[in-house]
């Protein structure tokens, strides 16, 4: 049961074109090129022949042809659930895939500490929190707490990092205030609840607040993370970097070091 690396998107952002050479592929059911795909969904209409036709229509619009409605289950008077199998005719062009590639070297804690010491001659301060009403701290704790994640120690373990973990349900004003008080070099925000795009709204609110209360050249590095983020959305969200599911503390530390000791060293 491997949990995979984060989703890539096609938007711009801190993105690089795929390094592997492109390939045109189709989905594979049981023969090369058969294009077979499974879909399921609910339509808010009672079950009937028309409803099944409507399900096939949707599948057709999604590019499935033929589309076999293999299961239709009435759910009460107003809804029907469908499972559809069929062939899609879309081609997937892997050369067009743009992913956020790691554009910094992965460092061991030792290397990271050394780099900070060398470049800054002081400890680097990071402030972390779950903002809004989000109370899911497991993700940010995985990154920050000594205990860490996937066998890697968290940022607290790094001698040259000062970690202030504010925990859950922190409001944006509280966060900004604390970041100022701590003279934070970086602010790490976690967002897990995505219903009604809560994670996007909260992140935008947060980045706007930081832009407002800091001169642009002194603003701490803004990092947001959570399992349902699209890593290519940093630009749109007004943050410097987005991390998604499966992130490890080492990746985050390496990124921090890279950004704060290379790019911003001067400021």
């Amino acid at each position: 049961m491997s949990e995979p690396v984060p989703t890539a998107g096609f938007e711009t952002g801190a993105s690089a074109p795929s390094s592997t050479t492109g390939e045109i592929v189709r989905p594979y059911g049981d023969t090369t090129g058969d294009g077979m795909v499974q879909i399921s969904f609910t339509l808010p209409i009672p079950h009937s022949k028309v409803a099944e036709g409507a399900a096939a229509q949707l599948a057709n619009k999604m590019g499935m042809d033929p589309a076999l409605v293999v299961h239709a289950k009435p759910m009460g008077p107003g809804f029907t659930f469908f499972v559809v199998y069929g062939r899609v005719h879309h081609l997937v062009d892997t050369s067009k895939v743009v992913v956020v590639e790691r554009d910094y070297p992965l460092l061991t804690p030792k290397e990271a500490n050394a780099a900070i010491k060398r470049a800054l001659r002081r400890r680097l301060t990071v402030v972390g929190a779950c903002i809004g009403t989000d109370a899911h701290t497991v993700g940010i704790d995985a990154i920050l707490n000594i205990k860490g994640f996937a066998g890697e120690k968290g940022l607290e373990y790094y001698r040259e990092l000062k970690v202030v973990n504010l925990g859950a349900q922190v409001s944006v004003p509280q966060l900004v205030e604390r970041a100022r008080a701590e003279k934070a070099d970086a602010v790490l925000v976690s967002q897990v609840v995505t219903q009604r795009d809560a994670h996007l709204l909260n992140t935008r609110e947060m980045s706007a607040a930081f832009r407002e209360s800091y001169p642009s050249d002194r603003r701490p590095l803004l990092i947001v993370g959570g399992p349902r983020f699209d890593e290519a959305m940093a630009g749109e969200l007004g943050v410097d970097r987005v991390f998604s599911r499966g992130t490890t503390p080492g990746e985050v530390a390496s990124y921090l070091v890279h950004q704060l000791t290379t790019q911003r060293k001067a400021s």
Binding site: S40, M75, F79, V193, A198
Partner: protein, 524 residues
């Protein structure tokens, strides 16, 4: 001569007795503390029982407005009843709403009545709050009557389903559909963040994140919808919400008055997972449980939550310990065995060899330790992934443990647990899963006999042993449980007694403190 084994685990009755004794020892000082304090929420709940409803133009409930002024004038420590009913007796206003309005306009000043004035205020408040309690009593009678008339859930475990759209008007059809598909209990999940609000929002709400606000009006709307479903389906559909967070006592009172049937209500959840001050929590807790006891509401405790942050194997004994404490606190507050929906969960990493048998061991331990409680069995969440097929299978094996160990309330697992709040089809598929397992293997417990001294028996006894040890260690702390909570014993969270949210809403009762609701509830 061989003796008949006791239950399937053959637990030693002396050990079980000792476990309860230790829980009592750990819990008693907390009860003592709780009795000595009051909170803004307890006092506001008292006002609600007296019939004070509604909110001002900005949505701040009148109970909050009134409470704030009273507190400013006379402090919290004497309770709200004496100053308020004294003001009413003094003719400051004809009723509570008017009084609250005037108070927030600054045109009333409160005082602490003494002597005959105090007696008069006491009597009047007791009379008026008594009506709220009577309403709760009536609601309980009504429930019993409806269950008799409509019929009850056809079997245990009761099928418990959540709705969580954030919009009461989407929740309602989804809940009704869930009932139609076989749900016995509907839980309306609360919006994220409500537990941190120090007031109960008003009216019907359509804007919640990952859940719908708990409001009196939402309670009413859903109750009416489910009564209608119950009629249609020929079985009473139970409704659940959350009595937790900063408004726990008020929500308990509203639940009693609106005939909710079950409430999430844990002795430590708010402390550990919402950073609410421990004393605030224990005081609110006790009051709310007294209300639940009176209302015939079944509480659901939250031990499952520990296993979302701690490892389900390593922390198994903290679940047992918490169950024992929840039981102690609940009984002290007047709840009976049938009202104790003690929680536990199927959260062992499915990659662990023998994980299913280990789940059986834990679930059976809870079953045999609390033979008369309607245990609440919670589905896998932490080890669910985006592989919805695997998730559907895991939920099936969770259901099977429920059937094999005679759980009372089965919270139905969703294949999309790691992805989204449940879709309507997720619920439908999940119920189909439960139905298959119960129908096909519901009686398999008859053929389930843990190997004597085998894996399951050994593991269950080990967990019980570790729980005893843990309670022993808690008692070694200077301030017992409060210190243990402070040092991260439960769910790996460290919560000191002098920190956390809502602490400023707590006061030590004065010698003249009076609360008619508590008085009536304690009499029971």
């Amino acid at each position: 001569m061989s003796r008949r084994p006791r239950g399937k685990l053959d637990l030693d009755p002396a050990t079980v007795k000792q476990a309860r004794a230790l829980a009592r020892k750990v819990g008693r000082p907390i009860v003592t503390t709780a009795k000595k304090h009051t909170t803004v929420a307890v006092e506001r709940a008292t006002l609600r029982l007296a019939g004070l409803e509604g909110a001002d133009a900005e949505g701040t409930p009148w109970v909050n407005r009134l409470m704030d002024v009273v507190r400013a004038d006379t402090g919290l420590e004497h309770g709200v009843a004496l100053p308020v009913w004294d003001a009413l007796a003094r003719g400051e206003a004809a009723d509570l709403v008017t009084l609250a309005q005037k108070a927030s306009a600054g045109s009333v000043t409160f005082r602490l009545p003494e002597g005959r004035d105090a007696t008069r205020a006491r009597t009047a408040s007791r009379k008026q709050v008594g009506r709220g309690i009577k309403r709760i009593d009536q609601r309980r009678v009504e429930r019993d009557r409806m269950i008799k008339r409509q019929g009850d859930a056809p079997r245990t475990p009761w099928i418990y389903l959540i709705v969580a759209t954030g919009d009461i008007y989407e929740d309602i059809p989804q809940a009704q559909q869930a009932a139609r598909e076989g749900a016995d209990v509907i839980a309306v999940i609360r919006s994220t963040g409500q537990s941190l609000l120090d007031y109960v929002p008003e009216g019907a709400t359509r804007e919640g994140f990952a859940g719908t606000y708990a409001t009196q009006e939402n309670f009413r709307l859903m109750r009416a919808a489910l009564d209608q479903s119950g009629k249609e389906l020929g079985r009473y559909i139970r409704l659940t919400n959350y009595a937790s967070g900063l408004c726990m006592p008020e929500i308990a009172a509203l639940a009693g008055m609106e005939r909710l049937d079950m409430m999430l209500n844990d002795s430590m959840y708010g402390i550990l997972f919402r950073d609410i001050n421990p004393v605030r929590t224990f005081v609110d807790q006790r009051f709310s449980r007294q209300v639940h006891a009176r209302a015939g509401i079944i509480i659901n405790t939250g031990e499952d939550n520990y296993l979302t942050t701690a490892d389900a194997i390593e922390a198994a004994h903290t679940v047992t310990t918490s169950q024992l404490l929840n039981e102690y606190f609940a009984k002290e507050a007047g709840l009976e065995d049938w009202q104790l929906g003690l929680g536990h969960a199927f959260e062992i990493d499915p990659e662990v060899p023998d994980s299913f048998r280990m789940e059986l061991a834990h679930a059976l331990l809870a079953r045999e330790l609390f033979p008369d409680a309607p245990l609440k069995w919670m589905p896998p969440t932490r080890h669910m992934t985006g592989d919805v097929f695997r998730g559907y299978l895991l939920d099936g094996f969770f259901n099977l443990v429920g059937a094999l160990t005679g759980q009372g309330i089965l919270l139905v697992g969703m294949m999309t647990e790691a992805v989204v709040t449940p879709w309507i089809s997720d619920r439908d598929l999940a119920l189909q899963n439960v139905r298959y397992v119960m129908n096909a293997a519901g009686e398999l417990h008859r053929d389930f006999r843990p190997e004597p001294d085998g894996f399951i028996v050994t593991r269950a006894n080990q967990v019980l042993g570790e729980s005893l040890e843990l309670m022993g260690r808690i008692l070694e702390h200077e301030h017992g449980l409060l210190d243990a909570i402070a040092d991260g014993t439960f769910g790996l969270m460290k919560r000191p007694a002098d920190a956390g949210r809502g602490l400023d809403g707590v006061a030590k009762k004065s010698s003249v403190y009076y609360n008619p609701a508590s008085e009536i509830l304690e009499e029971a």
